[in-house]
């Protein structure tokens, strides 16, 4: 059976047209390539530190 209160809580407001700019600025555009690049960079830095 549907729990009305629980279901209602799961509804979220829609993004309003006036707030598009904020949404674009806040967008997380990190993809897998960016993550790997960071990992490679961190790995090489730690290697240098150990040496």
């Amino acid at each position: 059976m549907i729990n009305f209160e629980e279901e209602l809580k799961q509804f979220k407001p829609s993004l309003e047209v006036e707030k598009i700019e904020d949404a674009i600025v806040d967008s997380d555009l990190t993809d897998m390539a960016d993550i790997m690049m960071n990992l490679i960079k961190e790995g090489s830095e730690s290697k240098k530190r150990n040496e």
Binding site: I2, L15, M36
Partner: protein, 438 residues
């Protein structure tokens, strides 16, 4: 670095695979599944423009216009050339008032959500009804409306909203769940279950079993008549809609072919007419030319004949010793048209005689006519005399005096001038000067 390139290439491939899966799902209107695949695709490659644009389209399709705009703006920034997102943005922003309308509906939904969460479901329902009236593809509004109706146990209205959602997004999980609740409460679930059971039930049939369709009924007499009439009507309709168009098309085709044949014949006849007209023009030209030449020959021969006649009349006048008449006839005689050797000798003799005394005879006749007061006749004689022998100042002076008598000063002065100029030391010149008043 090469390892990184390999990873990037792998990520790009995975992203493409997710995009393809998303596209397939979108094509069968599984929009929830499609958007999940596309989000995953963008996690692997944020530069996958097609995936981002399709995600924007899906947002737009489910009524989330602002979310769609976000994706398209990001897409057009990541890839500025040859990007379909630019067209989508132009379409949305190009029409005045469209974005404002979208904004109003989205804000109204957000208000309705707040009212629903603050124990004001009736007001929320009113707001949501207005939203879905103007924006029937707004899935979130439909879903919230369906939930509110379910809470009020108004399963029919909830079912209508859920049906709309499932038309847009066929595999929307929550809508499917809500719909199952609606069906359960309206008895629709039992009906569907029975139908499904009948469709897939298997039992061993006996030899005597007869499968009767549920719609089968024994026909009565009236029903049979009605069926026959209906059969005729269907047959007539089939002829009208199936046979007639093809027959009509065939007739059109035949008519067109006939028309083409007739036009071809008309064309050939026109060409024949043009050819005949050209021939006629050529023949007409030839005939005109021949007529002109014939006319010329006739005139030429007539002229020659007339000169011979004049010559005969001159000779006749000589015979009658009527020299004045001979001189007068000679003035209208054209000796150049006489080309016979024997006649030429006669003509030469006459010419010599006329130059010796013919001019004088004519001048005398002119003087006589002037004395008789006939100026015109006098002028004719003087003119003929000058035609035989032009070098004659006395005749010119006599002629000038006639003009003066006729008060034609201009012609008289012209003749006086010629005498003064050409014969300056003669008596006639002195007289002419006197006449001119020099």
């Amino acid at each position: 670095m090469s390892r990184f390139t390999d990873y990037t290439e792998k990520c790009r491939r995975i992203s493409n695979s997710f995009y393809n899966a998303g596209l397939e799902k979108a094509r069968i209107r599984d929009l929830t599944g499609a958007s999940q695949c596309l989000k995953r695709s963008l996690q692997f490659d944020k530069y996958n423009t097609d995936a981002r644009n399709l995600l924007g389209l899906i947002y737009y399709e489910i009524g989330e216009t602002a979310e769609a705009l976000v994706q398209w703006v990001i897409s057009s920034n990541l890839q500025q050339d040859h990007n379909r997102a630019t067209y989508y943005l132009h379409e949305l922003q190009g029409k005045p008032g469209r974005l404002e309308d979208e904004s109003v509906h989205i804000r109204r939904y957000n208000q309705a959500l707040m009212q629903a969460q603050n124990d004001n479901p009736d007001l929320a329902i009113l707001q949501l009804q207005r939203v879905v009236d103007h924006k029937p593809n707004y899935i979130k509004a439909h879903m919230l409306l369906a939930l509110l109706y379910l809470e009020k146990a108004d399963y029919t209205k909830a079912g209508k909203s859920l049906y709309q959602v499932l038309q847009i997004d066929k595999n929307h999980p929550k809508a499917s769940w809500y719909m199952s609740v609606v069906k359960k409460n309206t008895g629709r679930a039992d009906i569907e279950r029975r139908r499904l059971k009948n469709a897939f039930s298997h039992h061993q049939m006996e030899d005597d079993d007869i499968i009767l369709p549920p719609s089968y009924k024994e026909n009565t007499g009236w029903q049979m008549v009605l069926h026959i009439i209906a059969g005729f009507a269907i047959g007539a309709a089939a002829i009208f809609f199936l046979v007639m168009p093809s027959r009509e098309a065939q007739l059109h085709e035949e008519h067109n072919q006939e028309l083409n044949r007739v036009l071809e014949q008309v064309n050939q006849k026109n060409m024949e007419i043009d050819r005949l007209e050209n021939q006629e023009a050529v023949v007409q030209d030839a005939r005109d030319d021949a007529e002109t030449r014939l006319q010329g020959m006739i005139q030429e021969h007539a002229g020659v004949l007339a000169q011979y006649q004049t010559l005969v009349r001159i000779l006749q006048a000589y015979k009658n010793e009527d020299f004045p008449t001979a001189a007068e006839l000679y003035t209208g005689f054209d000796a150049s048209l006489i080309d016979e050797e024997t006649m030429m000798a006669i003509v030469t003799e006459i010419r010599t005689d006329m130059e010796e005394r013919g001019w004088q005879v004519l001048a005398d006749q002119g003087s006589q006519a002037e004395a008789a007061g006939d100026h015109e006749l006098a002028l004719t004689y003087f003119r003929n005399s000058l035609n035989i022998r032009g070098d004659n100042p006395q005749v010119m002076l006599d002629m000038a005096m006639v003009y003066k008598a006729m008060e034609d000063e201009e012609k008289a002065n012209e003749l006086f001038g010629q005498i003064i100029l050409n014969y300056p030391n003669t008596e006639q010149a002195a007289q002419a000067r006197t006449e001119r008043g020099y």
